[in-house]
Protein backbone atom coordinates (compact mmCIF):
# COMPACT_ATOMS: atom_id res chain seq x y z
CA UNK A 1 0.00 0.00 0.00
CA UNK A 2 2.66 2.44 1.07
CA UNK A 3 4.79 1.34 -1.91
CA UNK A 4 2.10 2.31 -4.40
CA UNK A 5 1.65 5.66 -2.68
CA UNK A 6 5.38 6.38 -2.83
CA UNK A 7 5.52 5.37 -6.50
CA UNK A 8 2.65 7.73 -7.26
CA UNK A 9 4.37 10.55 -5.36
CA UNK A 10 7.62 9.95 -7.27
CA UNK A 11 5.80 9.88 -10.61
CA UNK A 12 4.00 13.10 -9.89
CA UNK A 13 7.22 14.80 -8.82
CA UNK A 14 8.94 13.71 -12.04
CA UNK A 15 6.05 15.03 -14.14
CA UNK A 16 6.04 18.33 -12.26
CA UNK A 17 9.78 18.72 -12.70
CA UNK A 18 9.56 18.06 -16.44
CA UNK A 19 6.76 20.58 -16.80
CA UNK A 20 8.51 23.20 -14.68
CA UNK A 21 11.71 22.79 -16.69
CA UNK A 22 9.72 23.05 -19.93
CA UNK A 23 8.04 26.23 -18.75
CA UNK A 24 11.42 27.69 -17.80
CA UNK A 25 12.81 26.74 -21.22
CA UNK A 26 9.88 28.14 -23.19
CA UNK A 27 9.65 31.39 -21.27
CA UNK A 28 13.32 32.20 -21.67
CA UNK A 29 13.02 31.59 -25.43
CA UNK A 30 9.70 33.22 -26.18
CA UNK A 31 10.25 36.39 -24.23
CA UNK A 32 13.10 37.61 -26.42
CA UNK A 33 16.34 36.85 -28.17
CA UNK A 34 18.97 35.68 -25.64
CA UNK A 35 21.78 36.55 -28.07
CA UNK A 36 20.57 40.13 -28.39
CA UNK A 37 20.13 40.36 -24.64
CA UNK A 38 23.72 39.22 -24.18
CA UNK A 39 25.35 41.32 -26.86
CA UNK A 40 23.34 44.49 -26.34
CA UNK A 41 21.41 46.56 -28.84
CA UNK A 42 24.43 47.60 -30.87
CA UNK A 43 25.36 44.09 -31.96
CA UNK A 44 25.86 43.53 -35.67
CA UNK A 45 23.99 40.84 -37.59
CA UNK A 46 27.25 38.89 -37.85
CA UNK A 47 27.83 38.90 -34.12
CA UNK A 48 24.25 37.86 -33.55
CA UNK A 49 24.41 34.91 -35.89
CA UNK A 50 27.75 33.78 -34.41
CA UNK A 51 26.19 33.90 -30.95
CA UNK A 52 23.12 32.08 -32.23
CA UNK A 53 25.31 29.32 -33.58
CA UNK A 54 27.35 29.18 -30.39
CA UNK A 55 24.25 28.80 -28.23
CA UNK A 56 22.47 26.55 -30.72
CA UNK A 57 19.71 29.12 -31.10
CA UNK A 58 19.76 28.83 -34.91
CA UNK A 59 18.11 25.43 -34.74
CA UNK A 60 14.36 24.87 -34.64
CA UNK A 61 12.77 25.27 -31.20
CA UNK A 62 11.84 21.59 -30.95
CA UNK A 63 15.41 20.50 -31.65
CA UNK A 64 16.68 22.98 -29.06
CA UNK A 65 14.18 21.68 -26.55
CA UNK A 66 15.06 18.03 -27.15
CA UNK A 67 18.79 18.58 -26.76
CA UNK A 68 18.13 20.75 -23.69
CA UNK A 69 16.15 17.93 -22.07
CA UNK A 70 18.70 15.35 -23.22
CA UNK A 71 21.55 17.33 -21.66
CA UNK A 72 19.55 17.77 -18.48
CA UNK A 73 18.94 14.03 -18.24
CA UNK A 74 22.70 13.52 -18.37
CA UNK A 75 23.17 16.17 -15.70
CA UNK A 76 24.66 18.65 -18.15
CA UNK A 77 23.45 22.19 -17.50
CA UNK A 78 25.65 23.80 -20.14
CA UNK A 79 28.71 25.99 -19.81
CA UNK A 80 28.87 29.48 -18.42
CA UNK A 81 29.97 32.06 -20.97
CA UNK A 82 31.73 34.32 -18.50
CA UNK A 83 33.25 31.83 -16.09
CA UNK A 84 34.02 29.25 -18.78
CA UNK A 85 33.14 26.52 -16.30
CA UNK A 86 30.36 23.97 -16.26
CA UNK A 87 27.22 25.64 -14.90
CA UNK A 88 26.55 22.63 -12.72
CA UNK A 89 29.90 23.00 -10.93
CA UNK A 90 29.26 26.69 -10.31
CA UNK A 91 25.79 25.93 -8.99
CA UNK A 92 26.94 23.10 -6.71
CA UNK A 93 29.73 25.34 -5.42
CA UNK A 94 27.42 28.18 -4.51
CA UNK A 95 24.50 26.10 -3.33
CA UNK A 96 26.41 24.91 -0.25
CA UNK A 97 26.18 28.50 0.97
CA UNK A 98 22.50 28.68 0.06
CA UNK A 99 21.71 25.41 1.82
CA UNK A 100 23.62 26.57 4.89
CA UNK A 101 21.68 29.82 5.05
CA UNK A 102 18.29 28.28 4.26
CA UNK A 103 18.59 25.48 6.79
CA UNK A 104 19.65 27.78 9.61
CA UNK A 105 16.75 30.08 8.71
CA UNK A 106 14.22 27.24 8.70
CA UNK A 107 15.54 25.88 12.00
CA UNK A 108 15.16 29.33 13.57
CA UNK A 109 11.64 29.61 12.13
CA UNK A 110 10.54 26.20 13.45
CA UNK A 111 12.21 26.55 16.86
CA UNK A 112 10.53 29.91 17.44
CA UNK A 113 7.37 29.52 15.38
CA UNK A 114 6.05 26.23 16.78
CA UNK A 115 6.32 27.14 20.51
CA UNK A 116 4.87 30.58 19.77
CA UNK A 117 1.94 28.99 17.96
CA UNK A 118 1.36 26.43 20.72
CA UNK A 119 1.41 29.01 23.51
CA UNK A 120 -0.83 31.31 21.49
CA UNK A 121 -3.31 28.48 20.92
CA UNK A 122 -3.41 27.42 24.57
CA UNK A 123 -4.07 30.97 25.70
CA UNK A 124 -6.25 32.27 22.90
CA UNK A 125 -6.62 36.02 23.09
CA UNK A 126 -3.82 36.25 25.64
CA UNK A 127 -0.78 38.49 25.47
CA UNK A 128 1.43 35.95 23.63
CA UNK A 129 -1.40 35.32 21.17
CA UNK A 130 -1.83 38.97 20.37
CA UNK A 131 1.88 39.72 20.14
CA UNK A 132 2.42 36.65 17.98
CA UNK A 133 -0.35 37.48 15.55
CA UNK A 134 0.84 41.08 15.26
CA UNK A 135 4.39 39.87 14.63
CA UNK A 136 3.14 37.33 12.09
CA UNK A 137 1.32 40.04 10.20
CA UNK A 138 4.37 42.31 10.25
CA UNK A 139 6.56 39.45 9.05
CA UNK A 140 4.33 39.04 6.03
CA UNK A 141 4.23 42.72 5.23
CA UNK A 142 7.86 43.81 5.40
CA UNK A 143 10.00 43.34 2.30
CA UNK A 144 12.69 40.99 3.57
CA UNK A 145 15.60 42.61 1.79
CA UNK A 146 14.60 45.92 3.34
CA UNK A 147 14.43 44.33 6.77
CA UNK A 148 17.89 42.97 6.06
CA UNK A 149 19.18 46.45 5.24
CA UNK A 150 17.71 47.87 8.41
CA UNK A 151 19.28 45.08 10.48
CA UNK A 152 22.63 45.79 8.84
CA UNK A 153 22.18 49.45 9.66
CA UNK A 154 21.48 48.75 13.34
CA UNK A 155 23.68 45.78 14.16
CA UNK A 156 26.59 46.30 11.81
CA UNK A 157 26.82 50.02 11.06
CA UNK A 158 25.50 51.61 14.26
CA UNK A 159 26.44 49.10 16.96
CA UNK A 160 29.15 47.13 15.18
CA UNK A 161 28.01 43.89 16.79
CA UNK A 162 27.83 41.68 13.73
CA UNK A 163 29.42 41.63 10.29
CA UNK A 164 27.42 43.41 7.58
CA UNK A 165 27.98 40.86 4.91
CA UNK A 166 29.88 38.09 3.17
CA UNK A 167 30.39 34.59 4.50
CA UNK A 168 33.02 34.93 7.21
CA UNK A 169 32.14 32.34 9.81
CA UNK A 170 29.20 31.76 12.10
CA UNK A 171 28.65 35.39 13.11
CA UNK A 172 28.11 36.35 9.47
CA UNK A 173 25.23 33.87 9.29
CA UNK A 174 23.21 35.52 12.06
CA UNK A 175 21.74 38.54 10.30
CA UNK A 176 20.88 36.94 6.93
CA UNK A 177 19.43 33.86 8.64
CA UNK A 178 17.21 35.93 10.94
CA UNK A 179 16.08 38.02 7.99
CA UNK A 180 15.20 34.96 5.93
CA UNK A 181 13.50 33.27 8.88
CA UNK A 182 10.92 36.03 9.32
CA UNK A 183 8.47 34.92 6.65
CA UNK A 184 8.42 31.18 7.44
CA UNK A 185 8.35 32.05 11.14
CA UNK A 186 5.18 34.06 10.65
CA UNK A 187 3.52 31.30 8.62
CA UNK A 188 4.53 28.51 10.97
CA UNK A 189 3.35 30.38 14.06
CA UNK A 190 0.00 31.16 12.46
CA UNK A 191 -0.53 27.64 11.23
CA UNK A 192 0.53 25.97 14.48
CA UNK A 193 -1.83 28.24 16.36
CA UNK A 194 -4.87 27.47 14.22
CA UNK A 195 -4.02 23.75 14.04
CA UNK A 196 -3.49 23.46 17.78
CA UNK A 197 -6.62 25.36 18.76
CA UNK A 198 -8.66 23.07 16.53
CA UNK A 199 -7.02 19.88 17.77
CA UNK A 200 -7.39 20.87 21.41
CA UNK A 201 -11.16 20.89 20.91
CA UNK A 202 -11.26 17.57 19.08
CA UNK A 203 -12.78 14.37 20.38
CA UNK A 204 -9.52 12.49 20.85
CA UNK A 205 -8.01 15.21 23.02
CA UNK A 206 -11.14 15.18 25.16
CA UNK A 207 -10.88 11.39 25.36
CA UNK A 208 -7.26 11.74 26.47
CA UNK A 209 -8.35 14.23 29.11
CA UNK A 210 -11.10 11.88 30.25
CA UNK A 211 -8.53 9.15 30.72
CA UNK A 212 -6.70 11.50 33.03
CA UNK A 213 -3.55 12.07 31.00
CA UNK A 214 -1.47 14.99 32.23
CA UNK A 215 -1.97 18.19 30.20
CA UNK A 216 1.63 18.47 29.10
CA UNK A 217 1.41 14.98 27.65
CA UNK A 218 -1.79 15.77 25.80
CA UNK A 219 -0.36 18.97 24.38
CA UNK A 220 3.14 17.82 23.52
CA UNK A 221 2.56 14.22 22.48
CA UNK A 222 -0.96 13.94 21.12
CA UNK A 223 -2.14 17.34 20.01
CA UNK A 224 1.16 18.64 18.68
CA UNK A 225 1.72 15.55 16.59
CA UNK A 226 -1.63 16.01 14.96
CA UNK A 227 -1.10 19.74 14.47
CA UNK A 228 2.40 19.12 13.11
CA UNK A 229 1.13 17.74 9.80
CA UNK A 230 0.16 21.00 8.14
CA UNK A 231 3.30 22.54 9.65
CA UNK A 232 5.44 19.99 7.80
CA UNK A 233 3.73 20.96 4.56
CA UNK A 234 4.20 24.62 5.20
CA UNK A 235 7.86 24.15 6.04
CA UNK A 236 8.25 22.56 2.62
CA UNK A 237 6.36 25.32 0.87
CA UNK A 238 8.26 27.93 2.84
CA UNK A 239 11.56 26.47 1.73
CA UNK A 240 10.34 27.17 -1.79
CA UNK A 241 9.49 30.75 -0.92
CA UNK A 242 12.85 30.93 0.81
CA UNK A 243 14.68 30.11 -2.42
CA UNK A 244 13.03 33.15 -3.97
CA UNK A 245 13.40 35.57 -1.09
CA UNK A 246 17.01 34.45 -0.63
CA UNK A 247 17.91 35.99 -4.00
CA UNK A 248 17.38 39.55 -2.75
CA UNK A 249 18.52 38.85 0.81
CA UNK A 250 21.80 37.35 -0.43
CA UNK A 251 22.38 40.50 -2.43
CA UNK A 252 21.91 42.65 0.69
CA UNK A 253 24.38 40.61 2.73
CA UNK A 254 26.77 39.82 -0.14
CA UNK A 255 26.19 36.17 0.72
CA UNK A 256 27.81 34.02 -1.99
CA UNK A 257 24.86 31.66 -2.56
CA UNK A 258 22.75 30.72 -5.56
CA UNK A 259 20.86 34.00 -5.41
CA UNK A 260 23.99 36.09 -5.88
CA UNK A 261 25.07 33.71 -8.64
CA UNK A 262 21.79 34.45 -10.41
CA UNK A 263 22.14 38.23 -10.02
CA UNK A 264 25.77 38.10 -11.16
CA UNK A 265 24.74 36.02 -14.17
CA UNK A 266 22.11 38.59 -15.11
CA UNK A 267 24.52 41.50 -14.67
CA UNK A 268 27.12 39.79 -16.83
CA UNK A 269 24.49 38.78 -19.37
CA UNK A 270 25.46 35.15 -18.98
CA UNK A 271 22.31 33.64 -20.44
CA UNK A 272 23.22 29.91 -20.17
CA UNK A 273 24.04 30.40 -16.49
CA UNK A 274 20.77 32.25 -15.83
CA UNK A 275 18.80 29.44 -17.40
CA UNK A 276 20.79 26.81 -15.48
CA UNK A 277 20.14 28.55 -12.16
CA UNK A 278 16.40 28.73 -12.88
CA UNK A 279 16.35 25.01 -13.71
CA UNK A 280 18.39 24.16 -10.62
CA UNK A 281 16.05 26.21 -8.47
CA UNK A 282 13.03 24.40 -9.87
CA UNK A 283 14.70 21.03 -9.33
CA UNK A 284 15.50 21.95 -5.72
CA UNK A 285 11.92 22.99 -5.13
CA UNK A 286 10.48 19.79 -6.61
CA UNK A 287 12.90 17.78 -4.48
CA UNK A 288 11.78 19.63 -1.36
CA UNK A 289 8.11 19.04 -2.13
CA UNK A 290 8.86 15.39 -2.81
CA UNK A 291 10.51 15.07 0.60
CA UNK A 292 7.53 16.75 2.21
CA UNK A 293 5.10 14.37 0.48
CA UNK A 294 7.09 11.35 1.62
CA UNK A 295 7.41 12.70 5.17
CA UNK A 296 3.69 13.28 5.19
CA UNK A 297 3.09 9.66 4.29
CA UNK A 298 5.36 8.56 7.09
CA UNK A 299 4.08 10.88 9.82
CA UNK A 300 0.32 10.65 9.30
CA UNK A 301 -0.97 7.36 10.70
CA UNK A 302 -4.08 7.60 8.52
CA UNK A 303 -2.08 7.96 5.31
CA UNK A 304 0.55 5.46 6.44
CA UNK A 305 -1.91 2.67 7.10
CA UNK A 306 -3.94 3.45 4.02
CA UNK A 307 -6.94 4.56 6.03
CA UNK A 308 -7.31 7.99 4.48
Amino acid sequence: MIGIRLAAILGRAAATLLLAVTIAFLLTRISGDPARAMLGDNATADQLSTMHAQLGLDRPLVAQYLSFIGDLARGDLGTSLRYGEANLDLIVDRSTYSVQLASVAIVIAVLLGVPLGVIAALREGGLVDRVASAAALLGQSIPLFWLGQMLVLLFAVNWGLLPAGQATGVSSLVLPAITLAMLPLAHIARLTRSGMSEVMRSAFVMAARARGLPSWRIVLVHALRSAALPVVTVVGLQLGVLISSAVAVELVFAWPGLGSLATEAVERRDFPLVQAVVVAGAAALVLINLTVDILYTVIDPRVRDGRS
Binding site: R12, A15, T16, L17, L19, A20, T22, I23, A24, L27, T28, R29, S31, G32, D33, P34, A37, E124, G125, L137, L138, Q140, S141, I142, P143, F145, W146, L147, Q149, M150, V152, L153, V157, R201, S202, A203, G240, I243, S244, S245, V247, A248, L251, V252, A262, T263, A265, V266, E267, R269, F271, V274, Q275, V277, V278, G281, A282, A284, L285, V286
Partner: protein, 291 residues
Protein backbone atom coordinates in the same frame (compact mmCIF):
# COMPACT_ATOMS: atom_id res chain seq x y z
CA UNK B 1 -19.32 22.38 12.73
CA UNK B 2 -18.24 20.28 15.63
CA UNK B 3 -17.00 23.08 17.83
CA UNK B 4 -18.20 23.40 21.36
CA UNK B 5 -20.77 26.03 22.31
CA UNK B 6 -18.21 27.99 24.29
CA UNK B 7 -15.68 28.12 21.50
CA UNK B 8 -18.45 28.92 19.03
CA UNK B 9 -19.35 31.96 21.05
CA UNK B 10 -15.70 32.93 21.32
CA UNK B 11 -15.21 32.51 17.62
CA UNK B 12 -18.15 34.66 16.67
CA UNK B 13 -17.02 37.33 19.08
CA UNK B 14 -13.51 37.39 17.67
CA UNK B 15 -15.00 37.35 14.17
CA UNK B 16 -16.98 40.44 15.02
CA UNK B 17 -13.89 42.08 16.45
CA UNK B 18 -11.90 41.40 13.35
CA UNK B 19 -14.63 42.19 10.86
CA UNK B 20 -15.55 45.54 12.37
CA UNK B 21 -12.82 47.88 11.13
CA UNK B 22 -12.71 46.96 7.43
CA UNK B 23 -13.18 50.62 6.60
CA UNK B 24 -10.47 51.73 9.01
CA UNK B 25 -8.00 49.20 7.66
CA UNK B 26 -8.43 50.59 4.19
CA UNK B 27 -7.42 54.12 5.23
CA UNK B 28 -3.68 53.83 4.42
CA UNK B 29 -4.48 52.29 1.02
CA UNK B 30 -6.97 55.06 0.27
CA UNK B 31 -4.56 57.80 1.40
CA UNK B 32 -1.76 56.36 -0.74
CA UNK B 33 -4.15 56.06 -3.68
CA UNK B 34 -5.27 59.68 -3.29
CA UNK B 35 -1.65 60.84 -3.15
CA UNK B 36 -0.90 58.79 -6.26
CA UNK B 37 -3.81 60.28 -8.21
CA UNK B 38 -3.45 63.90 -7.11
CA UNK B 39 0.34 63.91 -7.04
CA UNK B 40 0.81 66.60 -9.73
CA UNK B 41 -1.45 68.95 -7.75
CA UNK B 42 0.39 68.53 -4.45
CA UNK B 43 2.72 71.31 -3.28
CA UNK B 44 5.85 69.20 -3.55
CA UNK B 45 9.18 69.86 -5.16
CA UNK B 46 9.99 68.19 -8.47
CA UNK B 47 10.76 64.51 -7.88
CA UNK B 48 13.41 64.49 -10.58
CA UNK B 49 15.11 67.80 -9.76
CA UNK B 50 18.72 67.20 -8.82
CA UNK B 51 20.83 69.47 -6.69
CA UNK B 52 24.13 67.89 -5.80
CA UNK B 53 24.86 70.58 -3.20
CA UNK B 54 21.79 69.40 -1.27
CA UNK B 55 22.76 65.72 -1.43
CA UNK B 56 21.92 63.40 1.49
CA UNK B 57 20.17 65.96 3.70
CA UNK B 58 18.63 64.11 6.67
CA UNK B 59 14.89 64.22 7.42
CA UNK B 60 13.45 67.21 9.28
CA UNK B 61 13.36 65.55 12.70
CA UNK B 62 16.98 64.36 12.58
CA UNK B 63 19.98 66.55 13.40
CA UNK B 64 20.85 68.74 10.43
CA UNK B 65 17.49 68.30 8.75
CA UNK B 66 15.13 71.04 7.67
CA UNK B 67 11.46 71.31 6.68
CA UNK B 68 12.51 72.21 3.16
CA UNK B 69 12.97 68.47 2.71
CA UNK B 70 10.74 66.82 5.35
CA UNK B 71 12.00 63.31 4.57
CA UNK B 72 15.48 64.37 3.52
CA UNK B 73 17.16 64.12 0.13
CA UNK B 74 18.96 61.34 -1.70
CA UNK B 75 22.49 61.28 -3.02
CA UNK B 76 21.59 63.46 -5.99
CA UNK B 77 19.78 65.96 -3.79
CA UNK B 78 16.31 64.87 -4.89
CA UNK B 79 13.53 65.35 -2.36
CA UNK B 80 12.62 61.96 -0.85
CA UNK B 81 9.05 62.99 0.01
CA UNK B 82 8.40 64.14 -3.55
CA UNK B 83 9.85 60.93 -4.92
CA UNK B 84 7.77 58.91 -2.49
CA UNK B 85 4.60 60.61 -3.74
CA UNK B 86 5.64 60.23 -7.36
CA UNK B 87 6.61 56.61 -6.82
CA UNK B 88 3.24 55.81 -5.22
CA UNK B 89 1.66 56.26 -8.63
CA UNK B 90 3.69 53.66 -10.52
CA UNK B 91 3.77 51.32 -7.53
CA UNK B 92 -0.03 51.26 -7.35
CA UNK B 93 -0.47 51.06 -11.12
CA UNK B 94 1.88 48.07 -11.28
CA UNK B 95 0.18 46.46 -8.28
CA UNK B 96 -3.27 46.83 -9.81
CA UNK B 97 -2.31 45.83 -13.35
CA UNK B 98 -0.23 42.93 -12.07
CA UNK B 99 -3.08 41.67 -9.91
CA UNK B 100 -5.68 42.02 -12.65
CA UNK B 101 -3.38 40.41 -15.20
CA UNK B 102 -2.88 37.41 -12.94
CA UNK B 103 -6.49 37.23 -11.73
CA UNK B 104 -8.18 37.01 -15.14
CA UNK B 105 -6.34 33.96 -16.56
CA UNK B 106 -6.16 32.48 -13.06
CA UNK B 107 -9.93 32.66 -12.55
CA UNK B 108 -10.70 31.40 -16.07
CA UNK B 109 -8.45 28.36 -15.70
CA UNK B 110 -9.73 27.68 -12.20
CA UNK B 111 -13.36 27.74 -13.34
CA UNK B 112 -12.56 25.49 -16.29
CA UNK B 113 -10.67 23.00 -14.13
CA UNK B 114 -13.31 22.92 -11.42
CA UNK B 115 -16.29 22.76 -13.72
CA UNK B 116 -15.06 20.46 -16.47
CA UNK B 117 -13.11 18.11 -14.24
CA UNK B 118 -11.46 15.04 -15.77
CA UNK B 119 -8.75 15.60 -18.35
CA UNK B 120 -8.97 19.40 -18.38
CA UNK B 121 -8.70 19.51 -14.61
CA UNK B 122 -5.72 17.13 -14.60
CA UNK B 123 -3.80 19.24 -17.13
CA UNK B 124 -4.54 22.57 -15.43
CA UNK B 125 -3.79 21.22 -11.95
CA UNK B 126 -0.47 19.87 -13.17
CA UNK B 127 0.33 23.27 -14.68
CA UNK B 128 -0.46 24.91 -11.35
CA UNK B 129 1.85 22.50 -9.55
CA UNK B 130 4.60 23.11 -12.06
CA UNK B 131 4.17 26.87 -11.84
CA UNK B 132 4.30 26.77 -8.04
CA UNK B 133 7.40 24.57 -8.31
CA UNK B 134 9.28 27.32 -10.12
CA UNK B 135 11.05 29.72 -7.77
CA UNK B 136 9.25 32.82 -8.97
CA UNK B 137 12.01 35.33 -8.50
CA UNK B 138 14.49 33.19 -10.43
CA UNK B 139 11.93 32.72 -13.20
CA UNK B 140 11.32 36.46 -13.33
CA UNK B 141 15.07 37.03 -13.51
CA UNK B 142 15.29 34.54 -16.37
CA UNK B 143 12.50 36.17 -18.36
CA UNK B 144 13.62 39.73 -17.77
CA UNK B 145 17.23 38.97 -18.61
CA UNK B 146 16.01 37.95 -22.06
CA UNK B 147 12.85 40.00 -22.55
CA UNK B 148 14.41 43.29 -21.52
CA UNK B 149 13.14 45.77 -19.00
CA UNK B 150 9.84 47.43 -19.73
CA UNK B 151 6.55 47.93 -17.96
CA UNK B 152 4.84 45.41 -20.27
CA UNK B 153 7.38 42.69 -19.55
CA UNK B 154 7.15 43.48 -15.84
CA UNK B 155 3.34 43.13 -15.80
CA UNK B 156 3.58 39.89 -17.80
CA UNK B 157 6.12 38.51 -15.35
CA UNK B 158 3.91 39.48 -12.42
CA UNK B 159 0.94 37.78 -14.11
CA UNK B 160 2.99 34.64 -14.67
CA UNK B 161 3.98 34.65 -11.02
CA UNK B 162 0.49 35.27 -9.72
CA UNK B 163 -2.06 33.28 -11.73
CA UNK B 164 -1.59 29.89 -10.04
CA UNK B 165 -2.93 30.75 -6.55
CA UNK B 166 -6.12 32.14 -8.13
CA UNK B 167 -6.58 28.99 -10.17
CA UNK B 168 -6.12 26.77 -7.17
CA UNK B 169 -8.62 28.57 -4.96
CA UNK B 170 -11.23 29.11 -7.69
CA UNK B 171 -11.01 25.48 -8.78
CA UNK B 172 -11.75 24.29 -5.25
CA UNK B 173 -14.73 26.66 -4.95
CA UNK B 174 -16.20 25.68 -8.31
CA UNK B 175 -15.71 22.02 -7.53
CA UNK B 176 -18.10 22.35 -4.60
CA UNK B 177 -20.53 24.59 -6.51
CA UNK B 178 -20.76 22.21 -9.45
CA UNK B 179 -23.04 19.72 -7.75
CA UNK B 180 -25.27 22.31 -6.07
CA UNK B 181 -28.96 22.08 -7.04
CA UNK B 182 -29.08 25.48 -8.70
CA UNK B 183 -26.24 24.59 -11.04
CA UNK B 184 -27.72 21.19 -11.85
CA UNK B 185 -31.07 22.87 -12.48
CA UNK B 186 -29.56 25.41 -14.84
CA UNK B 187 -27.76 22.67 -16.69
CA UNK B 188 -30.98 20.72 -17.08
CA UNK B 189 -32.62 23.87 -18.37
CA UNK B 190 -30.04 23.86 -21.15
CA UNK B 191 -28.02 26.93 -20.14
CA UNK B 192 -24.76 26.93 -22.11
CA UNK B 193 -21.51 26.32 -20.23
CA UNK B 194 -19.94 29.75 -20.84
CA UNK B 195 -23.15 31.48 -19.75
CA UNK B 196 -23.44 29.24 -16.71
CA UNK B 197 -19.84 29.96 -15.71
CA UNK B 198 -19.95 33.69 -16.29
CA UNK B 199 -23.46 34.52 -15.11
CA UNK B 200 -24.06 32.03 -12.35
CA UNK B 201 -20.82 30.53 -11.05
CA UNK B 202 -18.66 33.69 -11.20
CA UNK B 203 -20.95 35.81 -8.98
CA UNK B 204 -20.89 33.01 -6.42
CA UNK B 205 -17.13 33.02 -6.16
CA UNK B 206 -16.77 36.81 -6.34
CA UNK B 207 -16.22 37.13 -2.59
CA UNK B 208 -13.41 34.61 -2.57
CA UNK B 209 -11.83 36.22 -5.62
CA UNK B 210 -11.99 39.64 -3.99
CA UNK B 211 -10.23 38.33 -0.89
CA UNK B 212 -7.60 36.58 -3.01
CA UNK B 213 -7.03 39.70 -5.09
CA UNK B 214 -6.60 41.87 -2.00
CA UNK B 215 -4.03 39.49 -0.59
CA UNK B 216 -2.39 39.08 -3.99
CA UNK B 217 -1.83 42.83 -4.30
CA UNK B 218 0.64 42.50 -1.45
CA UNK B 219 2.47 39.67 -3.20
CA UNK B 220 2.64 41.69 -6.42
CA UNK B 221 4.01 44.76 -4.63
CA UNK B 222 6.63 42.61 -2.89
CA UNK B 223 7.62 40.95 -6.15
CA UNK B 224 7.87 44.29 -7.93
CA UNK B 225 9.99 45.80 -5.18
CA UNK B 226 12.25 42.74 -5.13
CA UNK B 227 12.70 42.87 -8.91
CA UNK B 228 13.38 46.60 -8.87
CA UNK B 229 15.78 46.08 -5.98
CA UNK B 230 17.68 43.56 -8.10
CA UNK B 231 17.74 46.08 -10.92
CA UNK B 232 15.23 44.21 -13.04
CA UNK B 233 12.07 46.19 -12.50
CA UNK B 234 11.15 49.72 -13.45
CA UNK B 235 13.75 51.68 -15.41
CA UNK B 236 15.00 55.10 -14.26
CA UNK B 237 13.82 57.90 -14.57
CA UNK B 238 10.51 56.23 -13.80
CA UNK B 239 10.11 55.92 -10.04
CA UNK B 240 8.56 53.12 -8.04
CA UNK B 241 9.12 52.45 -4.37
CA UNK B 242 11.15 49.42 -5.40
CA UNK B 243 13.61 51.52 -7.42
CA UNK B 244 13.89 53.94 -4.51
CA UNK B 245 14.87 51.03 -2.29
CA UNK B 246 17.48 49.98 -4.82
CA UNK B 247 18.93 53.51 -4.87
CA UNK B 248 19.00 53.54 -1.09
CA UNK B 249 21.20 50.45 -1.07
CA UNK B 250 24.26 52.48 -2.03
CA UNK B 251 23.79 55.16 0.62
CA UNK B 252 22.83 52.94 3.52
CA UNK B 253 25.73 54.00 5.71
CA UNK B 254 25.60 57.77 5.12
CA UNK B 255 21.90 58.24 4.41
CA UNK B 256 19.73 55.58 5.98
CA UNK B 257 16.53 57.50 5.24
CA UNK B 258 16.89 57.04 1.48
CA UNK B 259 16.22 53.30 1.93
CA UNK B 260 14.24 53.46 5.17
CA UNK B 261 11.45 55.72 3.88
CA UNK B 262 10.32 53.75 0.81
CA UNK B 263 10.67 50.47 2.73
CA UNK B 264 8.46 51.78 5.51
CA UNK B 265 5.95 52.97 2.91
CA UNK B 266 5.85 49.53 1.26
CA UNK B 267 5.47 47.87 4.66
CA UNK B 268 2.59 50.18 5.57
CA UNK B 269 0.83 49.55 2.27
CA UNK B 270 1.29 45.80 2.60
CA UNK B 271 0.21 45.76 6.21
CA UNK B 272 -2.93 47.58 5.20
CA UNK B 273 -3.77 45.28 2.25
CA UNK B 274 -3.00 42.15 4.29
CA UNK B 275 -5.23 43.28 7.16
CA UNK B 276 -7.91 44.25 4.69
CA UNK B 277 -7.67 40.85 3.01
CA UNK B 278 -7.95 39.08 6.36
CA UNK B 279 -10.92 41.20 7.38
CA UNK B 280 -12.66 40.57 4.06
CA UNK B 281 -11.96 36.86 4.38
CA UNK B 282 -13.61 36.85 7.80
CA UNK B 283 -16.58 38.61 6.31
CA UNK B 284 -16.94 36.36 3.26
CA UNK B 285 -16.04 33.04 4.82
CA UNK B 286 -19.31 31.24 5.59
CA UNK B 287 -17.59 29.46 8.48
CA UNK B 288 -17.21 32.80 10.24
CA UNK B 289 -20.72 34.10 9.68
CA UNK B 290 -22.82 34.69 12.74
CA UNK B 291 -26.08 32.83 12.95
Amino acid sequence: MTSQPVSGRLRSRSAKLRAAPVGALAIPVVVIAIVAVTYPLLPLSDAGAQSLADGLRPPAWARGGSWAHPLGTDQLGRDVLARLAAGARLTLVIALLGTIASAIPGIMLGMLAGYKGGCVDAVISRLVDAQLALPYLLLAIGIQSVGGRSLTVLILVLALIGWAPFTRVVRAEVLSLRTRPFVLGLRCAGVSTPRLLMRHILPNIAGTVLVMATLQIGTVILAESALSFLGLGVVSPQISWGTMLAEGRDTLVHGWWVAAVPGAAISLLLLSTNLLGDALRTRFDPGNKEF
